[in-house]
């Protein structure tokens, strides 16, 4: 499924799939079908309520299958912020001690920061230039007394580095492993090494308002102090069943085009790096659809805007021209040049020809940007 085309252009807008996907016709049909069928409170005992309960249970079972989880341990949060909160505070028995990877998503790091401010011992584990946790630091962080909640990503959504979850699982035995699967859910196989996993349905073309939280063992981990009837007591008693149904259906019908993108991304990386000087690929992209480039001497925001005028939707990891001027924490963590960072995340349907046309425009835009900055001869 290609993303919507820009006016007068080809399928070129779909180069920012990491920021979310537009709804597929299947998802739209599921949503408009589920809304009138399952509008009611699934906690009610009259027919409309029972129907909503049935639709919710069906969606929960579909999501549970995708995660290899028991349906009773799959929760639906309304957004990532809530999912992250559940995941980071759900450890049972003791106050949470957090061990968090430095390239974790901003909402994870922010939540960890809040919990640290409340007194939760928190360690941010640094990463190597590829974006992988420094093992010695992880081991040292885990060596402290008491069980920890370890928060990592299966793959990084900014630079595409894939974590060695088998290794992390082995090192963190006895601790709670929380895995952010935002970058892979509905796109690449979900690794089974997690105690808690979460991802937003928008990543696989589901509607907004549904973030899946899968829990392996509710006896050890439940995101509420006292679980009530079912689902750990945190899920809304009147959840958005039509949205959840659409998210479940979208997950059950993944776009088969994701697998083909690894080859297109590899072609894009080789072409861009061959045609543009002072350009590097950040991290060790193992995600098939995503690449973070860093291009010296150009401001990322200007690059993104110039490409936007040519019909390309891409993202940057820097905000040189913004008031905050804070470089992206992932780029800082891996030590990559932050100013000219450009994240290209392909959507299914993107071809080598699209990548070539993008590269043509990127060459022109970078040359113009460098010339304007007085860097044309550097």
């Amino acid at each position: 499924m290609a993303q919507p085309s820009p006016a007068g252009g080809g399928p070129s807008a779909g180069f920012d799939s990491a920021s979310g996907m537009p709804p597929s016709p299947t998802t739209l049909a599921a949503l408009s079908g589920a809304w009138p069928a399952a509008w009611a409170d699934p906690g009610r005992r009259y027919p409309a309520g029972r129907e909503a309960r049935h639709v919710l249970d069906t969606a929960r079972a579909a999501v549970a299958r995708a995660w290899g989880a028991d349906p009773g341990t799959v929760l639906f949060a309304p957004d990532r912020a809530t999912a992250v909160w559940w995941a980071l505070t759900g450890h049972r028995g003791t106050a949470p001690r957090l061990v968090v990877g430095a390239t974790s998503a901003a909402d994870v790091l922010r939540t960890a920061d809040v919990l640290a401010g409340w007194g939760a011992p928190t360690t941010v584990v640094p990463v190597d230039p590829d974006g992988r946790l420094v093992e010695a630091d992880l081991v040292a962080a885990l060596a402290a007394a008491g069980p920890a909640t370890v928060v990592v990503e299966q793959a990084n959504l900014e630079i595409g580095t894939v974590a060695d979850l088998a290794r992390i699982r082995a090192l963190s035995a006895g601790h709670t492993l929380v895995v952010d699967q935002q970058a892979v859910a509905g796109r690449e196989p979900l690794r089974p090494e997690w105690d808690v996993a979460f991802a937003d349905a928008r990543m696989w073309g589901g509607p907004p308002g549904v973030t899946v939280v899968a829990v392996r063992d509710p006896a050890r981990f439940a995101p509420a102090a006292a679980p009530t009837d079912g689902h750990c007591g945190v899920e809304a008693t009147y959840p958005p069943v039509p949205l959840i149904a659409a998210a479940g259906l979208a997950l059950e019908n993944p776009d088969p085009g994701w697998a083909a993108l690894a080859e297109v991304s590899a072609h894009l990386r080789a072409t861009v790096c061959a045609r543009i000087t002072d350009c590097a690929v950040v991290g060790d992209p193992g995600l098939g659809y995503l690449t973070m480039f860093t291009l010296l001497y150009v401001a990322a925001d200007e690059l993104v805007d110039a490409l936007g005028r040519r019909g390309w939707a891409v993202a940057s990891g820097a905000s040189c021209t913004s008031d905050t001027r804070r470089p992206h924490h992932v780029l800082v963590a891996v030590g990559a040049a932050t100013h000219g960072s450009l994240r290209v995340s392909l959507a299914p349907g993107a071809t080598r020809a699209d990548a070539d046309r993008f590269c043509d425009d990127l060459v022109a835009v970078v040359a113009a940007g460098r010339a304007a900055a007085g860097a044309g001869d550097l």
Partner: protein, 75 residues
């Protein structure tokens, strides 16, 4: 204390200006010692990254003072 051959004062300038001025100072001057002063928060990441990408040697990185000492590639 190593004395720089050139000093680039990029204080008050936003990224990518500090790195751009560093590259300008190092251009056609193999082995030259350049001191960069910068206060843009991105400089702490961008200057070491530039050194790695261009094969320059980072001799001093004082993020607190906002001061970096770089030996240009070659020479």
């Amino acid at each position: 204390m190593t004395e720089p051959d050139l000093v680039v004062d990029a204080r008050g300038l936003r990224c990518p200006q500090p790195v751009l001025l560093l590259a300008r100072a190092a251009k056609d001057r193999p082995g030259v010692l350049v001191e960069v002063c910068a206060d843009d928060p991105a400089a702490a990441t961008d200057i070491p990254a530039w050194c790695r990408m261009r094969g320059a040697e980072l001799l001093v990185a004082d993020e607190t003072e906002g001061r970096w000492l770089v030996r240009a590639p070659g020479g």
